[in-house]
């Protein structure tokens, strides 16, 4: 119950944390920092995927569209046609822009976290010791990149270092994604529509859903897996073992 309100209880607090980070809302009804590490892993993970988990709500919509484009590109070839999505061919330009989105997301979160862990100003931030302190840093940049607003609030964020790096993370997280996505939209709008036939890659139904999830997990999430392993995952394992910091 540490960091939770009685009237919300642990169940609803967990649900709220998941929803708020899945939908780029950012409101909180409990302190995510004091969740058990796996509890903190979920919101962290949601934001690192680009806040697309419930299927892309609000700003997350373009995030999931980028993953859809990448999924179509990776697996679309397996139906024996060059990839197309929503009746438009996915070509080098779209791929470049989609990769730019994935790359800026990963860059903003990982690079700034790396800077924070490597500098004295960054290391001064975390409240908690051990892997949880690392989670706090990671959460800060994940949330700021995702323009989410929730926080592992133990981190002392109101310092020159965190304000400066955080502002860049926010800028990157918003505009380094929106601009390439607008570019994709423009380029796809100008393209010749490809007629649908039996040979068209199906972007509905369970296979597509499974494929999309697979691509999100492998391309989106595995990028952050090493960092998460050093943060919440090992934190939870240590918690289970009863080690304290």
């Amino acid at each position: 119950m540490e960091g939770k309100e009685v009237r919300f209880g642990p169940d609803t607090s967990g649900l709220f944390a998941t929803v708020t980070t899945g939908t780029s809302t950012g409101a909180v009804d409990s302190m995510h920092d004091s969740f058990l590490p796996v509890g903190g892993l979920v919101p962290l993970f949601n934001m690192e995927l680009g806040e697309i988990t419930p299927g892309g709500v609000g700003a997350g919509l373009y995030g999931i569209l980028v993953f859809a484009i990448i999924a179509v590109f990776i697996a679309g070839l397996m139906v024996g046609r060059t990839p197309e999505f929503l009746g438009k061919k996915i070509e080098a330009y779209e791929m470049k822009m989609a990769m730019l989105v994935v790359l800026s997301l990963a860059f903003s979160i990982l690079f700034f976290s790396a800077v924070a862990t490597a500098t004295a100003a960054g290391k001064a931030g975390p409240l908690n010791g051990g892997p949880h302190g690392f989670s706090e840093i990671l959460y800060a940049y994940s949330s700021q990149t995702g323009n989410n607003g929730s926080a592992f609030a133990g981190l002392t964020g109101n310092t020159l270092f965190y304000n400066l790096t955080g502002s860049f993370a926010m800028l990157l997280g918003r505009y380094a994604m929106i601009v390439p996505i607008l570019a994709i939209a423009g380029s796809m709008a100008a393209k010749r529509r490809v007629a649908e036939s039996l040979g068209t890659f199906p972007t509905t139904g369970p296979i597509w859903v499974g494929l999309l999830i697979g691509v999100i997990v492998i391309v989106g999430a595995l990028t952050f897996f090493p960092a998460l392993a050093l943060g919440p995952i090992v934190d939870q394992l240590i918690n289970n073992a009863g080690r304290l910091f």
Partner: protein, 192 residues
């Protein structure tokens, strides 16, 4: 250049202006008006007024140290229940500081209430530091102490507690809770 101004710049500026008016002025005004007319109580802070005097908000907890009052949860807001410094402890489950704080809290509670198992919300700080509620178990844990301090029977106290216990929304969203401030006011006979 002309087409850029006419085709892209002007629409962008026009939309900016339009939305400044709509979302900056019109929308807040409408929402404020609706709130003040339809929900004046909630809109002004859900205040609890006793004999014409505002004693608190039903949404913000207060600190009670006297044994004859039910006490709320530990608070990490400032020195405790400081509404200008709302916040949680943010301590992690693997934090030595958290374990130390909880141990101290446990000792204090044992001293005041005896050796019964302590409900978890009484040793953990809330998210806001201003949690107005405690769990029914936490209320039950304090019933004996409050009854003794007030010279009431435990059942009398329990009856008051029951009046201020709310069930989860729709039965499953959230958790059952006991409102500390209203409970204490009621015990003092100030609520009608």
């Amino acid at each position: 250049m002309r087409t850029f101004i006419k085709g892209q710049l002007w629409p962008a500026v026009a939309i900016l202006l339009a939305f400044t008016v709509i979302t900056g002025f019109a929308y807040p005004a409408v929402v404020t008006a609706v709130a003040q007319i339809a929900f004046p109580g909630q809109a002004n802070g859900s205040m609890i007024v006793v004999d014409g005097q505002t004693v608190g908000s039903s949404l913000i907890g207060q600190s009670f140290d006297d044994p004859k009052y039910f006490s709320g949860r530990p608070s990490a807001a400032g020195a405790g229940y400081d509404p200008t410094l709302s916040g949680g402890s943010n301590l992690a489950s693997t934090s030595q500081a958290l374990i130390d704080r909880i141990s101290a809290q446990v000792d204090a509670l044992r001293k005041a209430n005896g050796d019964a198992p302590i409900p978890v919300d009484l040793v953990t700080a809330s998210a806001s530091g201003l949690d107005p509620d405690i769990s029914p178990a936490a209320a039950e844990y304090q019933v004996a102490r409050v009854a003794k301090a007030r010279g009431m029977t435990e059942d009398q106290v329990r009856a008051v507690v029951a009046r201020h216990t709310s069930q989860p929304f729709l039965g499953f969203i959230g958790a059952a809770s006991v409102h500390v401030l209203q409970l204490n006011l009621d015990l003092d006979g100030l609520l009608r």
